[in-house]
Amino acid sequence: MIRARLLAAVALAAAGCVSIDDTPPVWRPAAEVAGAELGPPPAPRPPPAGALRVASWNVALAPDPEAHARALLASPELAAADVLIVQEIDAYAGEPSRAERLATALGMTWFYAPERDEGDHTHGQAILSRYPLDGAAAMRLPHVEQPIRERDRVALAAEVVLDPARRVRVVDVHLDTRIGPVDRIRQLHPAVAGHAGPVVAGGDLNTNPWAWLESGVPLTGTEAIVGQDQAAVLDDYMAALGYASAIPPDVATHTAPALTMRLDALYPRELAIGAAGVARDVAGSDHWPVWVDVSLE
């Protein structure tokens, strides 16, 4: 198996084959997604006064979800989050998923869908909410073939039901790491295009600054000269679709001390941004959570 994968990687590298699946992806309801979970509705609560706080965090597998919940609740910004979208969270067979444990500790409901099957567990994303979720669905994003460690990627979407008359659609994405801006937009586009009404899209977009040679070598020198960060490119693309960027492109959301990389982002559409930020007081991952207040007035 390892030898076959190695041979495939060598063959791809020799052929210069970074390619992307052009099959149009579709949203599939949670009930049709293998391994997906939808939690029970949360305890009823009044709609938020004025603004809805949406946060996103790559939880780096969340080996101890209760510890992650304590870290979130200790942060003034994150403790007030109404919706939390997470990436890189695992679900092991025969035990409550880590999304369920994190949601329960935060007093939220959840929607989990796997990104890929890892044998004894699945690895995926989740939308957690203090308000009921409706229309939960998942989409398998265009697959980018790469010589090294290629991955399946998914997007999750659900409507957060604030009251019978008000809903906000939330989209949670996790994109490939070692791809350039054109493939990143190809992979993201099906998840963020075509929504109606107010939306907050975001997640770990992995917008590192560089162009990549065959998904293996970052052109660090070229990027240093031209300064065309992928985060800024994606903000420009999202603006064309009507989304505003809540987190500036030159703000670090990854904890690597020598690099300033905004890997994580939140993009509201048809919703005014009140406040937004990066919660650097929350430890437990190689990413910091990002958050945004969107006006409901």
């Binding site: 801006p181 190809r186 040679l213 070229t222 000269i225 065309q228 420009d236 064309a240 020598a258």
Partner: protein, 168 residues
């Protein structure tokens, strides 16, 4: 840390220039064959982006002027670079040499849109490059490898490059 790394080639380059002025010409005799003052080469991951072609003209036994250019399309992203530079031989033993380089770089990047709702974007930037490397020369053939730092509109970053070429 990266800033310090980038200043080392500069200091070595200045030292090489000073030594070249102070030493008799006979002691700084070049290893290159007499009369072959032009070095034409292909480069990978260097001053010219993902790959490039360069030419270098030797002015003195230790100093040369050169430029490398490239045009590449990486997964539809178009990258064009031009990097003129000064090359200085810091020390030489047999076919091996230690060298430093200082230069400028101009990069134009065009990102076409893969979707109908967006027009794509492009950007042009300029900056400086400093490098410290090793060269092996035998007959007309020359092979180089180097570590470098680039400073420009995207900040400061390290990178590495390699080149192979011939003296004409």
């Amino acid at each position: 840390m990266a800033a310090r790394a980038a200043t080392i080639p500069l200091l070595l380059l200045l030292a090489a220039g000073t030594r070249a002025a102070a030493e008799p010409a006979v002691r700084a005799a070049p290893a290159e064959p007499e009369g072959r003052r032009t070095f034409v080469y292909a480069e990978l991951l260097g001053k010219g982006g993902p790959w490039g072609v360069g030419v270098e003209r030797q002015l003195t036994p230790r100093l040369a002027l050169g430029a490398v250019a490239s045009a590449a399309v990486l997964r539809d992203q178009q990258l064009y670079t031009l990097a003129p530079y000064v090359h200085a031989t810091i020390g030489r033993r047999g076919g091996h040499a230690l060298f430093g380089e200082l230069g400028a770089a101009l990069v134009h990047s065009r990102i076409p849109s893969p979707v109908p709702m967006w027009a794509g974007t492009s950007d042009t930037g300029a900056g400086g490059i400093a490098a410290l490397g090793w060269e092996y020369a035998r007959a007309r053939l020359g092979v180089r490898a180097y570590l470098a730092g680039a400073l420009g509109e995207g900040g400061l970053a390290p990178f590495a490059g390699a080149a192979i070429g011939a003296r004409l």
